[in-house]
């Protein structure tokens, strides 16, 4: 057996073990067994048809690599379908994680309102000061308004809320680039809260 064939088979198995890790036992075992069978059949077919083990190894490698996106999609579909059919009771750990997520979302919303109000207040001051600070005033007004608007918008459309937060952070960061050390982490916290809120809706039930 050539080194390429051995490596391709090992990589395919290792990848299969990785993307099936954490899945329900029956799905995990079935997929791993099916890939094992396919690998054996592929090698056997090559021997029977007189193909070199290097050629077979190359084919297996290509099949493995080009199938990675579909493997990821498949894994996600299995997890979604299992989550949708999960029993009514929630494990304590899951409940704790949900509460922590909810708290984070609330705090980030409060931070968005406070920061937004501060930026708007500051913008008014900059407009009063005059022409030199106009660009800073405009950027702070836009960012402040977007941050404040993201909170009520989030109740109806969490994705639009996340987009507003992202826009606010980007506008501010571009004009006040020297404050990146503060703006970037704050922006990530705000965007994280908005994004978590957009994900907090129950997952769709997959169709057959």
């Amino acid at each position: 057996m050539s080194r390429l064939l051995e490596t391709s088979v090992a990589l395919t198995r290792a990848w299969c073990n990785a993307y099936t890790r954490g899945l329900p036992g029956d799905e995990r075992a079935a997929r791993r067994a099916e890939i094992d069978s396919d690998l054996w059949e592929h090698g056997h077919d090559g021997r029977v048809n007189g193909r070199s083990s290097a050629d077979v190894g190359y084919d297996i490698l290509v099949r493995f690599i080009t199938g990675v996106p579909a493997d990821i999609v498949w894994r996600r579909s299995i997890r979604l379908s299992r989550r949708a059919s999960a029993p009514a009771f929630a494990p304590v750990l899951m409940k704790g994680r949900k509460m922590a997520t909810r708290l984070f979302v609330l705090l980030s919303a409060a931070l968005a309102i406070v920061l937004g109000a501060f930026l708007l207040f500051n913008a008014v001051g900059l407009f009063i000061e005059g022409d030199e600070n106009l660009i800073f005033g405009i950027s702070q007004a836009i960012s402040g308004a977007a941050l404040i608007a993201s909170v009520p918008v989030g109740a109806r459309s969490p994705r639009k809320s996340a987009a507003l937060v992202a826009a606010a952070v980007i506008v501010y960061a571009v004009v006040h680039f020297w404050m990146a050390v503060i703006v970037v982490p704050l922006g990530l916290i705000l965007f994280g809260g908005a994004w978590l809120r957009s994900r907090s809706a129950p997952p769709p039930v997959p169709q057959a």
Partner: protein, 119 residues
């Protein structure tokens, strides 16, 4: 545009047609690799369908009721010194799906595929 969950992909149609072709050749029970070989022959392709694409499509077709699967007797596999095979078979619903697809292709060659019915 996002694909509707009840529509067959072109690959899935190809799989069902390849499965019917295998059945017509006296192989009603086929495993994934055999199907990949038949797909390659029918499409005159250079390479076999990837693992991920093939087995994801087979799982989806099985959930939709166009295929059924069963695992081989482990003693048979052990006696031949190889891993157990998972065999698939086409159902009657699959033949209907292919027929509908052929009719649709004659009407609208560029577009729609038949809908999957939940099993």
């Amino acid at each position: 545009m996002r694909r509707r969950s009840d529509q067959l992909l072109p690959l899935e149609l190809d799989i069902v047609e390849a499965a019917l072709d295998l059945r017509a050749d006296g192989e009603p029970n086929f495993h994934g690799f055999a199907l990949a070989k038949r797909l390659q022959q029918l499409a005159s392709a250079k390479s076999l369908t990837s693992h991920g694409t093939l087995y994801k499509a087979l799982a989806r077709l099985e959930r939709a009721g166009l295929l059924v699967s069963s695992w081989e007797d482990p003693e048979i596999a052990a006696s031949e010194g190889r891993p157990r095979r998972r065999f698939y078979q086409v159902t009657g619903q699959a033949e209907v799906a292919v027929e509908v697809a052929r009719r649709l292709q004659q009407q609208e060659p560029a577009r729609r595929a038949p809908k999957l019915q939940p099993s």
